[in-house]
Each structure stands twice: as structure tokens, then as C-alpha cells.
């Protein structure tokens, strides 16, 4: 069978890759040494025409269905890696057939959990990762996606204003339904609990888990955080006719959590004195959508919240509360955001994503003002930060060389 590439816009450079070799044997010159999570399949990163692709060697039918699943999740606007294509019909020089490859776009500035734990860590990193994963799982479940293999390895993390945003990376076992039953959601949580505990125990055994972190306690947190968030997003509120303001309150609380409500269902009881309301359609990304609309900046949810806060203080400080919001936002980008970004030397830009640097500068300014007891102009904070902080950070656009493992589980040889 001839080599076959299915992709929306396949790059001709793809053909230069050594498809006739098992992925495990690809020479270094083709590879990008980025960190990976634990996996059973062989996964490698390659540079093709200025972008980095993840290549996973896997049975053709599974590659195709995982590819289609990722496309569906993308269409539903869920955070996951972007499917690029499927390569099939690979044959080795001696004529043996090789498995197909699933190609996905490498998620820039993303960190597998093992890479995070190999860095200098805050003691609560594990907990913050779980919180991000809980948000991801709730979003997937709201959309009717049953994951079937929830784990830290199957999730990628991006920094998000000091917290993390989680992305799905492995959709192999996933199923998309119109909606999920409580049993299906619980099953995913069960799987998550066991996998996360296993992954943390593995870090512990490898000496990479910070002192005093209890794998079992941390893994239990997924269930708690998930339940809290799920209830807040889907729970029914009961109110009497005179309490309509509580609908607004509910919406505000959901916005606070980063969600928008597009629709409520409302039912009244027989005599019409009380109303039950329940959010029907909930969209994540309240702040990032608002920031995108105002400024064109496309960033993570907490980063957006942070930038919007700065925008609001800019508005107050420049005494423009009456002005059109879009206009003020435009000026804030031109006078604050862009000049700050322009100040960052090119060689430091691989350290962190732009929005995360901006967030850190705002933090840095806050600490500086506290230390000096007065306000610090933003540019002073920038210079201080660029001198003392940023150069000492690891390069996160492409973190190199932490231990990653493939553990094929197949009945080859006995």
C-alpha cells in the first residue's frame, strides 16, 4: 500500500520524514526533544515547516477515530490538542507493514506533569494541577464527552496567571454522547482517582514528589473539586416570585468562575409561587472571550481576568469611566500592553508565554510597591523583572530533556 497522508492542509515537507522506519528508530535529526507523559505507544515530536508536530504510532483504525474525535472536540470548543492528520500505508524497506501515525500539533508552552515536577516547585503544584484537571473534566462532561482514561499523563498543562489551564491530549478511549449519565461521570472520576494516585506514587518512588505531598489525598481532591464545580454549574436554584434578582446573582457567580450561561430552564410549581431555575447551556471562557472582544488578545481564562483587572484600573486611573469601553481597551493595548511586551528582549521570549509574562510583571510590580511603600510605574517594574526574574526561568516554549517513558503493554514474546 502506498504512503497515504490524510490532513486538511498537509505540508509537502511531511514527505521528507522517514516513514519507512519504526517511529522508535527515527534519527535525532528529525526530532524535537520535548518532554512527554507516560504512554503505551511510541510518541515523538518532529519539526515540520516551522511547526512542531506530535507523532503517535498506533493502529490505523484507532488513529482515524482518535483524529475524528479530536476534531469533534475542537468543534465543540473544548480545550484539547489540535488534530493535524493521519499517515497510513507505511512499509519498511524489507516490506513489513508499519502501524499508522496520528499527527497532532504540539501545544506550545504546554507542560506534561512530569516536566513540571522536575522543575523547582511550589509545594501546592500537585493540587493546582488537579484543580485545572477538574475544570477540564467538568467542561468535557457538560459537552457529553466521556473520557475513559482521565490521567495526568493524558493532560497537558499551560500556565495561567499562576494557576494552570488543562488540555486533553489523549482521546483514544473517549466517546461523545448527547449527554452523560451520572454513572458515566462517576466512572470517569473513578478512573481519574486511580490514575492520578498511581502517577503521583510513581513520582514519589522516583523521588520527584515534593516532601509532604500525599498521593492519595491529592488524588481524592479531583472528586471534591469536580463535585463543587458541577453543582455550581448545573444545580437547581429555587426562588419565589419576588426574588428574581437571585437569577442575576447566580449568573454573576458563574461568571466569577469563568463560565457564561447562555440559557436557563425555568419551571414553576403548580400554584406558581416558586420558580426552579437551572443553567442549561454553560460556556467556559467568560473572561477570555471578553478580553478577546475588547483587545483581540487570545489568552487563558485567569490571564484574561488578570489583564481585564489591569484594564479596569487603567480606566479608573485615567478617569475614563464614562468613555466607550472598546476605545479605552484600545488605548490600554497601545499604551500599556504593547510597550511592555516590546521591552522583552527576543532571547527571553521563549521563557514564558507573553500573557504569562505580563501577569508576572503585574505581580512583580505589586511586590515592589509593597516593599517600597508607594506605586511603581509599570516600566520600572518591567525593567526590574527583566533583570532579576525572567532570565532565571527555564525555557518553556520547548522544555528539553526530562525523563519520559514508553511502556508498551502487548503480548509479544512469551
Amino acid at each position: 500500500m502506498p504512503l497515504h497522508i490524510t490532513a486538511n492542509r498537509p505540508d509537502p515537507e511531511l514527505l521528507d520524514l522517514p516513514w519507512g522506519l519504526p517511529l522508535e528508530e527515527w534519527p535525532d535529526e528529525f526530532l524535537a526533544a520535548l518532554p512527554r507523559g507516560i504512554s503505551r505507544h511510541v510518541v515523538r515530536f518532529v519539526r515540520v515547516a516551522g511547526r512542531v508536530l506530535a507523532v503517535k504510532e498506533i493502529k490505523h483504525s484507532i488513529a482515524v477515530s482518535e483524529h475524528n474525535m479530536l476534531r469533534n472536540l475542537e468543534r465543540l470548543d473544548l480545550p484539547c490538542v489540535e488534530a493535524y492528520g493521519v499517515v497510513s500505508g507505511r512499509t519498511a524497506a524489507d516490506g513489513t507493514e508499519l502501524d499508522a501515525c496520528l499527527l497532532t500539533e504540539h501545544l506550545e508552552f504546554s507542560l506534561p506533569y512530569r516536566a513540571l515536577f522536575s522543575q523547582h516547585l511550589r509545594h501546592d503544584t500537585a493540587a493546582r494541577l488537579i484543580d485545572a484537571l477538574a475544570v477540564l473534566l467538568v467542561r468535557l462532561h457538560l459537552a457529553g464527552f466521556w473520557w475513559g482514561d482521565v490521567s495526568l499523563s493524558n493532560t497537558l498543562f499551560r500556565r495561567d496567571a499562576g494557576a494552570f489551564a488543562a488540555y486533553l491530549v489523549d482521546a483514544e478511549t473517549g466517546e461523545l454522547h448527547a449527554s452523560l449519565t451520572p454513572g458515566q461521570r462517576e466512572h470517569d472520576l473513578d478512573i481519574a482517582g486511580v490514575n492520578i494516585a498511581g502517577e503521583l506514587m510513581d513520582l514519589e518512588a522516583g523521588g520527584a514528589l515534593p516532601e509532604g505531598t500525599d498521593p492519595v489525598a491529592i488524588s481524592g481532591r479531583i472528586v471534591e473539586r469536580y463535585a463543587e464545580l458541577w453543582d455550581e454549574l448545573t444545580g437547581e436554584t429555587s426562588l419565589t416570585m419576588g426574588e428574581r434578582w437571585r437569577i442575576d446573582e447566580r449568573i454573576r457567580r458563574l461568571n466569577e468562575l469563568g463560565f457564561d450561561v447562555d440559557e436557563f430552564t425555568m419551571t414553576t410549581d403548580v400554584d406558581g409561587t416558586t420558580i426552579q431555575i437551572q443553567p442549561k447551556i454553560v460556556d467556559a471562557g467568560h473572561h477570555s472571550r471578553r478580553l478577546l472582544r475588547l483587545t483581540g488578545l487570545d489568552v487563558e481564562e485567569n490571564q484574561a481576568r488578570r489583564l481585564l483587572n489591569d484594564l479596569d484600573s487603567y480606566r479608573a486611573a485615567t478617569d475614563r469611566m464614562q468613555d466607550n469601553e472598546e476605545q479605552v481597551a484600545h488605548d490600554w493595548v497601545a499604551r500599556i500592553y504593547e510597550p511592555v511586551m516590546a521591552r522583552i528582549p527576543a532571547q527571553l521570549r521563549h521563557k514564558l508565554e507573553a500573557a504569562e509574562i505580563f501577569h508576572e510583571i503585574l505581580e512583580h510590580r505589586w511586590y515592589m510597591s509593597e516593599r517600597f511603600g508607594h506605586d511603581i510605574p509599570i516600566m520600572d517594574a518591567v525593567d526590574d523583572y527583566l533583570y532579576w526574574v525572567l532570565p532565571n526561568k527555564p525555557d518553556e516554549q520547548s522544555v528539553v530533556g526530562v525523563d519520559t517513558v514508553e511502556m508498551p503493554v502487548v503480548a509479544w514474546d512469551d
Partner: protein, 366 residues
């Protein structure tokens, strides 16, 4: 350990008007290996998931042992879905890889050790318990992954197409492993597959589903020798049973030039035509003019045996526009197979004829 009972279990998905599983009744014995099999969309996975608690039950009940679990959550049912994507952890020993899930459940150390050792014995992994998974072969790693499910000692194992990711050769290997492991453990197991060969080689009993309805639940032998209806007859066995609609005459059914004797009592339960079925290995090649004439289209030689694929010659002669029926398959001696293009005459071996009502598809007689 426990029995499992589907008691009129019914699932109607929201938005569908027909049930995806319709009043399913199966009694599974303690320690039994039951396989659910059927074509895509027949409701196998749905049935399994109702048992696991992953799918709501809209009618009927599900029992595990003497507990009605219909409304229990998955983790209160004491069942384990096996063979999902189990990861192995590189820095943990084989023993820890097998036992860590018990730690989460709060089981004490001595008990964990005991169960891990028991499982290791069954899995032939005793001497590897202190190793890291990297130092194991692929097959040993797979057994470690199975060990993760075994140490939990659930009442029931559930498996949904666990081998679908493997290529053909590995699938055959692994299915023998699973079946023999299950027999050693003696844990009640419900296994889903669309592959009838897998079902027939693995199960103590096989339940065939179609369109959400149970067609038959029997041992592989019984299923093969005594299919309850035309669907099961055609679904089980490879190559499939030959099924023909033939006219009923006095004392039997017409089969080419011959007559298949059928008891008067059985004939009284059929119309003017009946469906007769005969497996390829139950067909005799007879002498010229005796039985059903076949034009040989393909001969597949397999050493000791050969499969002969032919079309009933008379059909085409009678009506050249008649739709081409499925070829009639005959297993015969591999040393003296007929030639392509030849006309042969066949009839069923005595006592190996299956008779079905043509309208209902139900089996007639024994």
C-alpha cells in the same frame, strides 16, 4: 463471587423510540464466562454498561448475587471493567503496580501484600514482584496490568472488546490467556465482542443479540448444533451455514432432485416453503443426479480439507435474472476436490439438517 441476573433489563436511549436493549433475560452462574456477541449496534455494550452501572436501566432489574444493583452507582456494585488503558508506572515495582489501587481504597499493607502475591502466583509473576516494569517482556507487562484488576477481587469482571486494539496474531494469543486466566480465577465474567469466533472459543456460554433482543443463550456446542433461529444459524460458524428456501412436498422438502425427509408434525408447523440449513462440513457430495446440483465457482484448498463454493445450478437455469444467492459451501476431502466449472450433486448428511419456519425464522423440530 456471584451470580448475575439480567431480569427484563431494558434500555431506551433518550430520543429513541425503540429500546436498544429490550427485556433482556440472562442468568449467569457463579464463576461462569459469558460472552455477549452480535453485529454492530445490537446492544452488547449497552447491556454490559447497564450491568456496570454506566447506563441507566429504564425497565427491569439487574442482580448481582442476591443484591438488586439496578440503582447502585458503579463503585458500589463490586464489578471491575478490565483491560481499559492500564498504564504501568516506571519507577514503581511490579508489586506496587499491581497493588497501589488497594492503597487508595485504604486496604492495609499486609492484606495488599497477600493479594498481590496470590495474583502474582496465578499470573506467573512471582519472581518478578520486585522488578521495575521496564525489565519485563511485553507479555509480562500485560499480565501485570491484568493483576491490577485481579487484586481488587471484584465479584464480576466486565470486558468490552478488550482485544480490539491488537492485531490478529496477538488477539488469538491474548484471548487464550484471558480465557485460561479466568478459569483459574473462577470469577464470574461478562465479555463483549462482535467476533463470533472469539465468542465461541472463549465463552462457557454465548448470548447472541440482535436489534436489542436476545436470540439465544447457550453453550458454544449447543449454539452450533442447535441454533434457535435463522439469524443465529447464519451468524455462528465460519464459513456460515448454508441456508436455502425450498418447497414443501408430501413427506418432506424438495432439495434439488432429492427429498429431505421431515416429520409430518414438523411440516405441519411450516407453510408452503421452509428454510433448510446445513453446515459446510455436514454436506455429502453424491453421485450424478442425486440431490442439489451445484456449479463449482471456487475451490479453496486448505491441506487436509477443501472448501467448495458453488451456485445451485437449477436456479439460474430456471430464471437467469434471479438474484445471485450466497454461494453454497461444501467442505470436502482436500486430496480429491472437484474442479472449477464442474457440476456436483450434494445433500445433507443424515441427522444434520436444520429446519426453520420461513416466515418467522424460528427453528422447527429438534
Amino acid at each position: 463471587m456471584a451470580t448475575v441476573k439480567f431480569d427484563n433489563a431494558t434500555r431506551i436511549y433518550p430520543g429513541n423510540d425503540v429500546p436498544s436493549v429490550d427485556k433482556l433475560n440472562i442468568d449467569i452462574e457463579d464463576g461462569e464466562f459469558l460472552v455477549l456477541v452480535g453485529p454492530s449496534g445490537c446492544g452488547k455494550s449497552t447491556s454490559l454498561r447497564m450491568l456496570a452501572g454506566l447506563e441507566e436501566v429504564n425497565g427491569g432489574k439487574i442482580w448481582i448475587g442476591d443484591r438488586d444493583v439496578t440503582n447502585l452507582s458503579p463503585k458500589d456494585r463490586d464489578v471491575a471493567m478490565v483491560f481499559q488503558n492500564y498504564a504501568l508506572y516506571p519507577h514503581m515495582s511490579v508489586a506496587d503496580n499491581m497493588g497501589f489501587a488497594l492503597k487508595i481504597a485504604g486496604t492495609d499493607k499486609a492484606e495488599i501484600r497477600k493479594r498481590v502475591e496470590e495474583a502474582a502466583k496465578i499470573l506467573d509473576l512471582e519472581q518478578y514482584l520486585e522488578r521495575k516494569p521496564k525489565a519485563l517482556s511485553g507479555g509480562q507487562r500485560q499480565r501485570v496490568a491484568m493483576g491490577r484488576a485481579i487484586v481488587r477481587s471484584p465479584q464480576v469482571f466486565l470486558m468490552d472488546e478488550p482485544l480490539s486494539n491488537l492485531d490478529a496474531k496477538l488477539r488469538v494469543q491474548t484471548r487464550t490467556q484471558i480465557a485460561s486466566l479466568q478459569r483459574r480465577l473462577g470469577v464470574t465474567t461478562v465479555y463483549v465482542t462482535h467476533d463470533q469466533v472469539e465468542a465461541m472459543t472463549m465463552g462457557d456460554r454465548v448470548a447472541v443479540l440482535k436489534d436489542g433482543l436476545l436470540q439465544q443463550c447457550d453453550t458454544p456446542r449447543r449454539m452450533y448444533d442447535h441454533p434457535n433461529n435463522v439469524f443465529v444459524a447464519g451468524f455462528i460458524g465460519s464459513p456460515a451455514m448454508n441456508l436455502l428456501n425450498v418447497p414443501v412436498t408430501e413427506g418432506g422438502a424438495r432439495f434439488g432432485s432429492g427429498l429431505l425427509p421431515i416429520s409430518r408434525e414438523d411440516l405441519s408447523r411450516a407453510g408452503n416453503e421452509i428454510t433448510v440449513g446445513v453446515r459446510p462440513e455436514d454436506v455429502d457430495i453424491t453421485s450424478e443426479g442425486d440431490g442439489l446440483p451445484l456449479t463449482v465457482e471456487v475451490v479453496e484448498e486448505l491441506g487436509a480439507d477443501a472448501y467448495v463454493y458453488g451456485t445451485p445450478a437449477s436456479d439460474k437455469a430456471k430464471d437467469p435474472t434471479a438474484p445471485v444467492e450466497k454461494p453454497f459451501v461444501v467442505r470436502t476431502d482436500g486430496r480429491r476436490p472437484p474442479m472449477k466449472g464442474e457440476t456436483i450433486y450434494v445433500k445433507p448428511k443424515e441427522g444434520h439438517l436444520h429446519v426453520f419456519n420461513m416466515e418467522t425464522g424460528e427453528r422447527i423440530g429438534d
